[in-house]
């Protein structure tokens, strides 16, 4: 019975030792945390600092022209074009680093944008006035819908421009964490797709505009009201202005300018949705490529937790982008739906001339093709996000851990996709349902269709 108090003493000593050890451990942990916080802060500061310090006159090297695979760099040129057309007034879009981005109300871009919004508003008012003074039908509201949606998109774009610097910074942090691209080709791919989509879209829309001018000239000479052909043309294309005012050259030029810009912006909203979708889908793809490389292999739980966090980050990014652009998506989809219905309805009419027929069928095919492209590109975000599940299914039994289980459950239960103001998700199923909707409405509209009133000289012309 002697050793009991001894044991008691030993136990007490041990306890105090453990307590000391705990304290030491605790302080060490605090220190480590502080240090890591500080290094992180320094790191972030450096990153913000570095791009500003770049000397002005240095010979550009090969690196300056190589893409680093970031979204910010890929959309730079596209946004420059948009700025030229009075949208997205952000400074520094072609800069190397997203921290160069800035928005200010007093910059010349913003003023230009605001000026154009005011001018569009005036034009919208004039269109509204003209339409309300005529009998209203499905067809005659076309100019209002066109100009109204352009106006709406302009305002949303201005609002988006304010958020753009933060969004791009967030995008940058997500991109930095993702598994890195292996080759230069992989880095170059997303930027290339975005530029090609933009280029092809713009070329086609330019061709459409030229054709519309040709057909309008044709039409103007057909219903010539005055002796001057140029005046006839402007009277035709800007009938909403000259419904109120009498003809004058500056007004005609303003109308033409307004037409060209509106057409561009109307096309650009689809391009913009496609661009963002391509960016998001390629980020999911980057993650999926890495998962595919390790498909069916025994990976450590840390690997899975890392991938899960990366996936989550992209999902959050997707949600942020969706919140920012969902109004544009909504406007773009409903616009396309309306215009396809109108154009299909018009296709029943007899065409007055060959120029009309060419323009009409070209614009109809372009419209359908563009709608299909937007739907498919935006659905690709959803498709890519689901693809991850396919790789998670192939995890062997030995490395199946709670982290993988959590990851796969999250992928199953979340719907990751762009949306139209949360009313509908952009998935591949939507394409079929939109096609079905168009056919149904068309069939109903055909019942009320009368042939002759569409190509009448008093009818409002646009688009």
């Amino acid at each position: 019975m002697k050793f009991l108090p001894k044991m008691g003493r030993k136990l007490r000593r041990l306890k105090t030792k453990v307590r000391k050890l705990d304290l030491v451990h605790e302080s060490a942990r605090k220190k480590a945390l502080q240090e890591s916080c500080e290094t992180y802060k320094n790191h972030m500061d450096n990153e913000f600092e570095v791009p500003i310090k770049i000397p002005k006159l240095s010979r550009s090297t090969k690196e300056a022209f190589l893409s680093d695979g970031s979204f910010h760099q890929a959309v730079g040129r596209v946004l420059i074009v948009a700025e030229f057309f009075a949208m997205m007034p952000v400074k520094g879009v072609t800069g190397k680093h997203p921290s160069n981005l800035s928005f200010s109300w007093r910059s010349i871009r913003t003023c230009f944008s605001l000026l154009f919004i005011a001018s569009s508003l005036a034009n919208f008012g004039l269109s509204l006035f003209k339409v309300l003074n005529n009998p209203i039908s499905f067809n005659s509201v076309k100019p209002i819908i066109f100009r109204g949606s352009v106006l709406l998109v302009l305002m949303v774009a201005l609002n988006l421009a304010r958020q753009w610097p933060q969004l791009m910074m967030y995008w940058h942090t997500v991109e930095k964490d993702l598994p890195q691209y292996k080759t230069q080709l992989a880095k170059w791919k997303m930027g290339h797709t975005i530029s090609m989509v933009m280029l092809v879209g713009m070329m086609l829309s330019f061709a459409e505009h030229i054709l519309s001018m040709v057909s309008a000239i044709n039409y103007a000479s057909f219903c010539n009201r005055t002796a001057d052909p140029i005046q006839n043309y402007f009277l035709r294309t800007n009938d909403e202005i000259f419904f109120v005012a009498s003809y004058s050259a500056p007004l005609a030029v303003w109308g033409k300018f307004q037409n060209v810009y509106s057409t561009f912006i109307w096309n650009y909203m689809d391009m913009f949705v496609m661009m963002v979708s391509i960016g998001l889908a390629s980020k999911f793809q980057q993650l999926n490529d890495d998962l595919r490389n390790f498909k069916g292999m025994n990976m450590a739980p840390t690997y899975w937790s890392e991938r899960r966090i990366q996936y989550r980050n992209i999902c959050i990014l997707c949600e942020k982008m969706d919140n920012a652009i969902s109004l544009i998506t909504m406007v773009s989809f409903s616009n396309n739906l309306y215009f396809i219905c109108v154009q299909l309805l018009r296709s029943l009419n007899t065409m007055p001339s060959v120029a009309h027929a060419v323009y009409f069928y070209f614009s109809l095919i372009f419209l359908i093709g563009r709608t299909l492209a937007v739907s498919l590109y935006s659905a690709s975000v959803h498709d890519e996000s689901r693809l991850t599940l396919r790789y998670l299914r192939c995890v062997p039994k030995e490395s199946w851990c709670p982290e993988v289980k959590r990851f796969s459950e999250e992928v199953i239960s979340d719907v990751v996709a762009l949306s139209g103001m949360k009313f509908f998700h952009l998935t591949r199923n939507l394409v079929l349902s939109v096609a079905g909707t168009i056919v149904t409405y068309e069939l109903v509209l055909i019942q009320f269709h009368e042939d002759n009133d569409l190509w009448d000289c008093n009818q409002s012309y646009y688009s």
Partner: protein, 401 residues
């Protein structure tokens, strides 16, 4: 190579020195999909589709695809000729009134053209696909009813292959009107047009046959797994068994996804064109028939079209039915045998949708049948509104139906 091979065999047969006695082994099937589809693919090759070499080889290792083989160029030639034919059809339709019926030849030609292009693509992927297929097949439990798959495939094949009675065949049968709008009539041109028609009609029917074949092959694999599961689920099995069945199921699903990536374009074309032609034929059924021979022929062809479309849908959706079967079976696992692996398997089964798709736009399941029937009914009701009787019996509309 198939022809060469048979030629060699013929020579060997005629030469008494070389005569080898056929053993029983030569006539036994090993039950592999590769072997089962060989005759179907050989016929397809006669009609310029699926230019893969080594189809009748004993194992799938003999399969190969090369751009320099005559089969490939035969198919390319066929594509070119079809495109030219399409040009003539468009030329002809553009000179008449445009409506649902008059675009029929264009729809027909375009769908065949796209489908044969898809088949060309598929041929490139075929050797890899078959090797993957054989690898999965190898892992499956033994075949209980060996002849099952083979017999079904061949019966379907013989039922459907004489596609002569198709509505479209008859429609094109009499003349290749689109050619003679451009060229004056000549005998050789008529024969050329005729050959082209036969090839096109075959291609059109072949799409459906091919899809049924894929559907049967894939659902049969799942059915084999299900049969083995059914025997075991009521007993407490070791965890290794569940790992084995889960990975097996997973590999079949991976194969289905791979097949889907390769063949979903054909699926979309097949379903789309079937929908269009059913609508069209139903619309024509309102017309008064000029003679009872016409009526018999017409209703026969309509029935044929309907039953063929239904058969494709049912055979392909069998994949989805079979893939959901294990979920029901897993509910019967007793408590002692309920391992984490079973839990994982059940979770995966509950959340996955396994089916072939039409270019990922729709899944081919049994629900699709009703959806399609509804669509046909809706469009039919609308089309009837615009229907005028005499049009489809007009001689200048070059329509025999």
């Amino acid at each position: 190579m198939v022809l060469m091979g048979s030629w060699d065999k013929l020579i060997a047969f005629l030469n008494p020195d070389n005569q080898v006695r056929g053993t029983r082994k030569n006539f036994l099937h090993n039950g592999s999909f590769h072997e089962a589809v060989a005759p179907v693919l050989v016929v397809a090759q006669c009609f310029c589709l699926m230019p893969v070499s080594g189809i009748s080889a004993p194992s799938c290792r003999g399969l190969s695809f090369s751009r320099r083989s005559w089969r490939f160029w035969y198919s390319v030639l066929y594509l070119c000729v079809t495109s030219v034919d399409l040009g003539f059809s468009i030329h002809k339709v553009a000179h008449s009134v445009l409506d649902v019926r008059s675009v029929e030849p264009i729809v027909f030609h375009v769908s065949i053209l796209i489908a044969s292009w898809q088949f060309l693509n598929l041929a490139r992927l075929w050797p890899g696909l078959m090797r993957h297929w054989a690898a999965v097949e190898h892992r499956l439990p033994g075949y209980t009813c060996l002849e099952h798959l083979l017999s079904i495939i061949s019966s379907v094949y013989y039922d459907i292959c004489p596609g002569r009675r198709d509505p479209v065949e008859s429609y094109l049968h009499a003349n290749s009107a689109q050619l003679f709008v451009v060229f004056p009539y000549s005998n050789w041109l008529g024969w050329l047009g005729k050959t082209q028609n036969v090839l096109l009609t075959f291609g059109w029917s072949y799409m459906d046959i091919f899809l049924m074949m894929l559907g049967m092959g894939l659902s049969e694999m799942l059915a084999r797994l299900n049969r083995s599961l059914e025997l075991q689920v009521r007993q407490p099995m070791p965890e290794a068994y569940w790992t084995w069945s889960r990975t097996l199921y997973r590999s079949i699903v991976e194969l289905i996804r791979e097949v889907d990536d390769a063949a979903s374009g054909i699926m979309l074309i097949s379903f789309g064109s079937n929908l269009y032609f059913i609508c069209l034929q139903l619309l024509k059924s309102i017309n008064t028939m000029p003679s009872s021979a016409h009526a018999v022929y017409f209703y026969f062809s309509l029935m044929f079209l309907l039953s063929r479309s239904t058969a494709v849908l049912l055979f392909v959706s069998a994949i989805n039915d079979q893939a959901r079967q294990p979920q029901r079976l897993l509910r019967l696992v007793p408590l002692q045998g309920y391992h984490p692996e079973v839990f994982r398997f059940a979770g995966e089964l509950a959340s996955d949708q396994v089916a072939l798709t039409g270019l990922k736009f729709f899944n081919v399941t049994r629900k699709l049948f009703l959806a399609m029937a509804g669509t046909v009914a809706t469009y039919e009701l609308v089309l009837i509104q615009f229907h005028e009787d005499k049009k489809s019996w007009d001689c200048s509309a070059n329509n025999l139906n």
